[in-house]
């Protein structure tokens, strides 16, 4: 994954493909509290993150805050979250 900007562009495209309304979606939009993602969509989003970084996310260690926005998700996967 090269840059946060590129990730966010890919992520928005991906979320659009799985039926999420991305019209108002930005890097800081809370994906959980606003109900953008339900559990099925989060599981699919986690798959997407794992594919982008080619590494597994251990859900037992996962705090939902770390993927609650696209920017946080990027930092989490980069190991900065």
């Amino acid at each position: 994954m090269s840059s946060e900007e590129e990730f966010i562009k890919n992520a928005v495209e991906f979320l659009d493909e799985i039926g999420v309304d991305t019209a108002e979606l930005g890097p800081e939009t809370n994906l959980i509290d606003t109900g953008v993602l339900d559990s099925l969509a989060i599981l699919t989003f986690l798959d997407f993150l794992e594919q982008q970084w080619d590494k597994e996310v251990d859900v037992d260690e996962l705090s939902i805050d770390s993927i609650s926005t696209l920017r946080r998700a990027y930092r989490f996967m980069e190991g900065e979250g």
Binding site: I18, I32, L40, I42, L43, T44, D60, I64
Partner: protein, 312 residues
Amino acid sequence: MDPELARAAQLYRRVDHADPATVRREAARRRKVSLLIGEWATDDPDVQVQDVVVPTADGSPVTVRVYRPVGGAEPRPAVLYLHGGAFISGDLDFEHPRCLEMCRETECIVASADYRLAPESPYPAGLDDGMLAFRWLCGPGGASWGVDPTRVAVAGTSAGGALAAALCLRARDLGINPPRLQLLLFPVTDDRLRTWSVRAFTDTPVWDHQSCVHMWHHYLGPAEGRGVVSPYAAPARAGDLSRLPAAYVLTAEYDPLRDEGVDYARRLLEDGVPTELHQFPRAFHGFDTLAAATPVAHRARREVHDVLRAAL
């Protein structure tokens, strides 16, 4: 596919059932994420929940999770619930939200049995455990919870449906007081994999032909070495379905198990068992909980509650 269910069907990640550990990991992952965002009901103010260890003479106790409505008159009717999971996965948490809701909506005691799983414990371990839980529920154990033993149903989903149907067959054959109702949701009934749906549905959401092949392999061993399969393992093998409890059978159109569920319901009817069959069109295996928030899933669960209330 039903438009209400299409999204869930698209997003649900199908799991290769060749490896039970993978199936169990995936189930735990789904539950964990649902818990994290508060989609998974853990408790209900109207329901008291307690795990009870039912001892056995041979030292392999079965844990039963008892859901009891808060308040109300006793004795009460009860439902023994046997979870799904292809005989290889599932535990007391696996269908906890379903059991909570069933208890609240029916005002029955719901007892969910943590039966042993294949391949570590193949047939008949799971059925033995279900049977033990049923006897407990209808005996002094259940009485201590206020259960009326004459008003008990057995319910099961998918592989749990096979266990529920088999439990009714075994109770009949042993002369044990039978449950009043067998409630079979997407039931597994036939190891022979010869119906149209089980052969045709090789790429259906959640559950497909290959899942069935793996499931039976784990439960009964390799196909070539199985010998004569007992009706208590695969209830469709039973030649006589007469004198069984009244039945409610739920099937889904895009489910490989559809035709064996429909066939089982038809054969129950032919053998004189009062049977209600609800075939949900354009739906997939397990839609009632896997797409729990959709209107059609609500409708399916509500009907199950209505059927239980009416029967008990």
